[in-house]
């Protein structure tokens, strides 16, 4: 029933009835009725339809929340804060007095010499009495890959530091391919866990040796062509030509270097998949500063090439801290002198790490 019909009915009822029959005789007043909207309302309807269509398109354009963003929103509900050292943690009000709390200022970065000097003071024989303590470097990483929503799962590797220092190190398991059996016995004496020639290659092909239990694979230059059949078994541990850490004419020297290597591994955080951190011993406190600097430079080179491909140079390592146990102090290192020039970013003599590529 249209509006016009209703109005007619009401008007008919409102009229004073003269007699009993008047209601029966009275017929409702009928207006002209259209089955379509007027020109005025048609315009409004068209506008609304257009607006709705635009909104629908805008919704489609909005990207969905990635896994990382969802996890970060979960983190806000917990007691735990973000583990990353960021500018957000720094205070808004800055204390400009000469005596101030470290909480109240934007935390400064120190160059290497002043960092080491500060640690030497605290661990002095008159105070903590740990003068030759280890210098530990904590490295924070940015694990985002080139593809949106994908992250590097975990990284692991070993550092061959130029200057040796003593500490209880994790044992590296070394697999060695040598040209002769005499050399193989020498390699086992020097510290290789397994060494051999063509017979070892056949054993691995047959599946008698578990390759996954070894950290590093070292090969003599003459054996290089004979290993090629193991390409599918060793996969990313496969030593490549030009990698001076995996292939050389003097294998025994290489094994000794690997024995002194420092191992590290890091995996993404549960709540922050783009965050990972690891700590490695870098030097002893009483070593000369030039030696410490050379070791840290090697750390930068060794870690930076593990980063995902297609990222801008020097963006993988976000922050480096130096600490000396048992002191709890952690100083932020100024990393500008250690940054790698873009041409030097991907050195030829290095193999890629086993799990460097993003999971897909």
């Amino acid at each position: 029933m249209s509006v016009g019909m209703l109005r007619g009915l009401l008007e008919g009822l409102r009229k004073p009835s003269s007699g009993l029959l008047s209601l029966a005789v009275q017929t409702p007043y009928v207006e002209q009725v259209r089955g379509y909207p007027t020109q005025k309302y048609f315009k409004i309807l068209a506008e609304n339809r257009k607006r709705n269509r635009i909104r629908k398109l805008q919704k489609l354009e909005q990207p969905k929340k990635t896994f990382a963003e969802i996890q970060k929103s979960k983190l806000k509900r917990t007691v735990l804060g973000s583990r990353r050292y960021t500018e957000k943690d720094w205070p808004k009000q800055i204390n400009s007095d000469d005596v101030h709390l470290l909480k109240e200022v934007v935390r400064p970065t120190f160059d290497l010499e002043s960092c080491i000097q500060m640690h030497r003071e605290v661990l002095h024989p008159q105070m903590y009495n740990h003068a030759n303590s280890l210098v530990m470097a904590t490295v924070e990483l940015d694990m985002t890959s080139k593809k949106r929503g994908h992250f590097v799962d975990q990284i692991s590797g070993s550092l061959l530091l130029p200057h040796f220092f003593e500490y209880k190190r994790q044992v590296t398991r070394i697999l060695c391919f040598t040209k002769s059996p005499d050399e193989a016995t020498l390699a086992l004496e020097r510290g290789a866990n397994l060494a051999g020639g063509e017979q070892l290659v056949k054993k691995i092909e047959a599946g008698e040796v578990d390759v996954a239990s070894f950290d590093t694979v070292v090969c003599d230059l003459n054996m290089y062509e004979k290993i090629q059949s193991l390409k599918n078994i060793l996969k990313k541990q496969m030593p490549r030509l030009g990698n001076t850490d995996a292939i050389s004419e003097d294998v025994l020297n290489l094994i000794e270097r690997h024995r002194k290597a420092v191992l590290f591994s890091a995996s993404g955080d549960l709540y922050e998949p783009d965050y990972a951190a690891f700590t490695v011993p870098i030097a002893r406190l009483q070593m000369p500063i030039d030696h410490i600097r050379a070791n840290i430079k090697e750390l930068f080179v060794g870690v930076n090439h593990l980063g995902p491909r297609g990222r801008p140079p020097n963006s993988f390592i976000t922050e480096i801290f130096l600490s000396c146990p048992p002191s709890l102090e952690r100083l932020v290192l100024d990393k500008t002198p250690f940054l790698i020039a873009p041409s030097q970013n991907a050195p030829a003599g290095r193999a890629r790490a086993p799990t460097a590529e993003p999971e897909e």
């Binding site: 735990l80 804060g81 007095d97 000469d98 005596v99 101030h100 709390l101 009495n129 740990h130 002191s327």
Partner: protein
Amino acid sequence: MFAASVLRRVASPNCYHVRTLIVLKRSHPLRQPQVGEAHKNLQTKRMRTYELVPLTEEEKPKTIKVVLKELVEGYGAVGDVIEVPRNFGRFELIVPGRASYASPEALKWAETLQERGIEVVRFTSKTSPGTIRYLRSRVYALIMSEKNPWTLEVWHVRSHLRSQGLVVPEEAIVLPDKPINHNDGVFGKDIIITIKINGKDEARCRLRFRPAEELLSPATQLQEVEQPWYIDTPTALFESQAAEINQMHDEVMAIFQKRIEAIRSEGLRSIADLNVRAIF
């Protein structure tokens, strides 16, 4: 906006304490017709739209001027004339009696402070009274060797304070007059030093000597610590400082108990709450 709707939005004049004037402005201004031109039809929709012109005279000022009657941290000393946000000035300064409106009488009172012999205490910066208050409510550890000989020097204190989160230059530290040696039975006892903030403001800072070799041995590190070390009742190294040390210890205890009650009632709010139990 139609004129009728504008009028509807304005509350009735009975609500106001003063009858107010409402000023309207055409949203599409009229152009004066030239000679021979016909008048515009004023009944159109455009001609009936108006905007409300806000009356700025009635608006309340956002800031007010006040004269301080006492020292207010971060704002000023006695007699200072400062401009603060309206609500803050009213409810935090004027109502508690810490300041008054900058009336001519109050300004005259502020000018004649020196004649009445009222001392004006001024700090070198806004933040320095806060750090002075903070240092009273803390104990810093001086972890020194038991085996190797030493006499306490300024750089010992400076590097230990920095490692615990307080940056102090060496010039600011004033040690007690008596030299302190490792033989004096120092460990477990407290001393108080003065720290001069910006070379002027004096803050008192409590330090406790702790033995390095004993703390860092594996035997003590495996022990379960029931309560943090800074809660233990202090013993003064110098008897002249004993009263002040006890006074500062009460402040530490008050803050500690308040914090633990907050954790019990509200639960952990951040990871920092876990650090109430100290590591050493």
